[in-house]
């Protein structure tokens, strides 16, 4: 019988080794799945993990795309992780992302056709406000009425989607779009566009903001009293209360920060890579970011790496569809497997495997 023994402190070697081992195991298990589907397993794995980074024809294009794809995931996950650490469950970042995009886009379009360089920064603020306001609904309901934030934040995603649809088909519809749904193109209009800051790198303002958020969260968690309060509230709520942590204030702050970051992610997306408000503008970043947050063990650097890894599997998965004809569903299942292994092997960092003589439940 094997049993686990908790390590006094997490193993540094396994902190790095476990994810690597997980990827290797995923390659084996995923390879078996691809083989069952009639694919060459080695080639499929190579296309997913290697080609986006190093293929002579694709890499120059797909490497920067990694940042475009990872940017919003990281930005949202950083905000969520603060709340998750404090035991505050914002499951509705997707809704805050939508509202950020809507607020920001509506602001920019209200000033159309002005091309003032002040518009984009103001749109970012409007986007942040939109996400913040949407997150304040569960925050206030929680602090005033003790309403569970999981339910409120999650259900508000559907409300945001309904508002998005009415915007795309109605009040934000492009007046020159011949009646078709969808707003004006923000990305192709000077003033409202979110440009690439360094040409050829995929680094638009959203990616840069994501990097800044990583650093800020790192500093916050390690150097700031709020970071200490967040960690304490998550680990020992009673102790936190004795230490003078105001739980209501923490709820407002954590939901607020994650709302602001998700809202900004939405704004950067709608004014850059997506380009316009459409009925199906949101593509699930808000939910995937929850995975990214935990995959990164709620640590800013971990989230950065997890976001990039997720982006790699998305882009590699697309390449596998194109080059090998692997169905999209197989890629999804493969991503699921990768997550299973990554999450399962985390155990090695925190626990030692021991052989036990006696059976212990």
């Amino acid at each position: 019988m094997i049993r686990l023994e908790k390590r006094p402190t997490p193993s540094r070697a396994w902190n790095i080794g476990a994810p690597i081992l997980a990827v290797v195991l995923t390659m084996i298990a995923g390879g078996v799945m691809f083989a069952l589907l009639g694919q060459d397993p080695v080639e499929a794995i190579r296309v997913i993990f290697w080609d986006p980074l190093f293929h002579e024809r694709f890499a120059a294009f797909s490497r920067p795309q990694l940042l475009v794809k990872a940017g919003p995931l990281i930005l949202i996950a950083i905000g969520l992780a603060l709340g998750f650490r404090a035991g505050i469950w914002n499951i509705g970042a997707e809704g805050q992302y939508i509202m950020g995009a809507l607020f920001g886009a509506a602001f920019g379009l209200a000033l159309y056709p002005s091309e003032s360089p002040l518009i984009f920064p103001a749109m970012v603020i409007a986007g942040a406000l939109g996400g913040w306001a949407w997150a304040m609904i569960p925050a206030i309901l929680k602090t005033r009425f003790r309403t569970n934030e999981i339910l409120v934040s999650l259900l508000l995603v559907y409300v945001a989607e309904a508002i998005l649809a009415s915007a795309a088909t109605g009040w934000l519809r492009n007046p020159e779009g011949m009646g078709f749904p969808g707003s004006r193109d923000l990305a192709r209009h000077p003033g409202t566009d979110n440009p690439e800051v360094i040409a050829g790198t995929g680094m638009h303002w959203g990616v840069i903001t994501a990097f800044i958020a990583v650093i800020a969260a790192y500093v916050l968690l390690n150097r700031h009293v709020l970071g200490y309060q967040i960690k304490l509230a998550g680990q020992a709520p009673r102790a936190a209360r004795f230490a003078g942590v105001n739980p209501g204030r923490l709820v407002i702050l954590c939901l607020g920060i994650s709302g602001v970051l998700a809202g900004m992610a939405g704004l950067f997306e709608v004014s850059g890579p997506a380009g316009q408000i459409t009925i199906d503008f949101n593509v699930g970043y808000g939910f995937t970011a929850i995975i990214v947050a935990f995959l990164g063990r709620l640590h800013p650097i971990g989230i950065l790496l997890a976001g990039l890894l997720m982006a790699l599997t998305y882009i590699g998965g697309e390449l596998a569809q194109l080059m090998l004809g692997v169905p999209a569903s197989a890629i999804q299942a493969f991503q699921g497997m990768l997550l299973f292994f990554l999450l399962a092997l985390d155990v090695l960092a925190n626990y030692r495997i021991k052989r036990a003589r006696e059976v212990v439940a």
């Binding site: 294009f61 790198t201 569809q321 194109l322 080059m323």
Partner: protein, 359 residues
């Protein structure tokens, strides 16, 4: 989008450098990109059927690649670019929302042909758009619905209040009214393209509100399952939905993209491909009327087929005046038919429909 230009150019050079060596023996490659799963049994499924038909027609001369469940916007742009870097000579993008991405990528790759379904943006000479005149099919299903309803209430499940859906509702309504002056339409917009359970609920709601014939502009068979139980009628949408024959499915309007893809790929290979805005219907067999089954009386079957034939021959346009807008404002004068442009962007209900468009 815009800021990707430079690196797209880099990629293009790389692709160009890689291609010529083998270009002559390589088959013509067509990349298909779908917003949904090809297992959706509806829109993306029928386009994939078209791809398969085209692939079989050309054999080794043409190769197809496919990406499904691709989100509109940045993801679509990336997937199309990767397809081209991988050697695609033509891109077929099968969702309206791919429009901006199609045009952005088309600008980077002027030698690649683009076919964009249901779109209207053709900013570059290598972008064509295509669509089917589904409203022609809806004229026929509306005609049958008008005859078949006994309660004089026809239910209609729509996704969103957008032109393609609104146009179909108008067409079905006009032709139901033509044969049954007492008929009324009840509309539900479910606010999604894809939620079979919600479609079932909507069908039940319409039946409870008195409807005994259900039309739908969503792709699942859920309304048929509900209709089967309730003893009401429904129509196959996008595919034949033959599993519900002979009732509740009494006929269907089938999307038939294969021949179109064959023509366009052939034209591209021959060097005769030109930019176009194809909007084809019964005449070109872009849509096909499925078998009209037993519950429909013979004379109705005959008149429905006659209606289809007159539309196919060009003798009759489903929107032939006099037609007023909902508020009574004249839209088409006696004998007048609309231009394709305004028809494509149709955003109002015609006179007689009682539901209001609110969005």
């Amino acid at each position: 989008m815009k800021h990707l230009k430079t690196l797209l150019a880099v990629g293009a050079v790389a692709a160009a450098a890689a291609l010529p060596a083998t270009a002559q023996e390589e088959p013509f490659t067509v990349g298909f990109i779908h917003v949904g799963s090809t297992g959706d049994m509806g829109w993306s499924f029928t386009h994939d059927q078209g791809r398969i038909a085209m692939d079989e027609h050309f054999g080794d001369a043409v190769e197809t690649v496919m990406a499904e469940s691709v989100a509109e916007g940045a993801d679509a742009e990336r997937v199309m670019t990767q397809m081209i870097l991988g050697g695609a000579d033509m891109i077929v993008a099968t969702s309206f929302g791919f429009g901006p991405a199609v045009n952005a990528v088309a600008e980077q790759f002027p030698d690649v042909y683009f076919e964009h379904a249901t779109g209207f943006m053709r900013d570059h000479p290598n972008v064509s758009t295509y669509n089917a005149r589904f409203y022609e099919g809806r004229a026929v299903t509306g005609h049958i619905a008008g005859h078949m309803t006994e309660s004089n209430i026809v239910g209609y499940i729509g996704s969103y209040p957008i032109p393609t859906v609104i146009r179909g509702m108008n067409s079905a309504f006009l032709h139901a009214r033509e044969v049954n002056p007492d008929v009324e339409f009840r509309m539900i917009f479910v606010g999604t393209w894809f939620d079979p359970a919600l479609e079932a609920d909507a069908a039940q709601a319409l039946i409870d509100q008195g409807a005994d014939v259900i039309l739908q502009h969503t792709d699942s068979t859920a309304p048929h399952a509900v209709s089967q139980e309730a003893g009401t009628f429904a129509f196959g949408q996008a595919s034949d939905m033959a599993q519900f024959k002979p009732a509740p499915r009494i006929t269907s309007v089938i999307d038939n993209w294969g021949p179109f893809y064959i023509d366009r790929v052939q034209a591209a290979m021959d060097g005769t491909w030109e930019q176009q805005d194809a909007w084809e219907g019964f005449a070109e067999e872009r849509i096909i009327l499925g078998e009209i089954t037993g519950p429909v009386p013979d004379e109705v079957r005959a008149s429905a087929l006659a209606l289809r034939d007159s539309i196919a021959s060009g003798e009759y346009h489903p929107f032939t005046g006099p037609i007023n807008m909902q508020d009574g404002t004249p839209w088409l004068a006696e004998g007048e038919t609309p231009e394709d442009g305004p028809l494509a962007g149709m955003n109002f209900f015609v006179e007689g429909i009682t539901a209001e468009l609110q969005n």
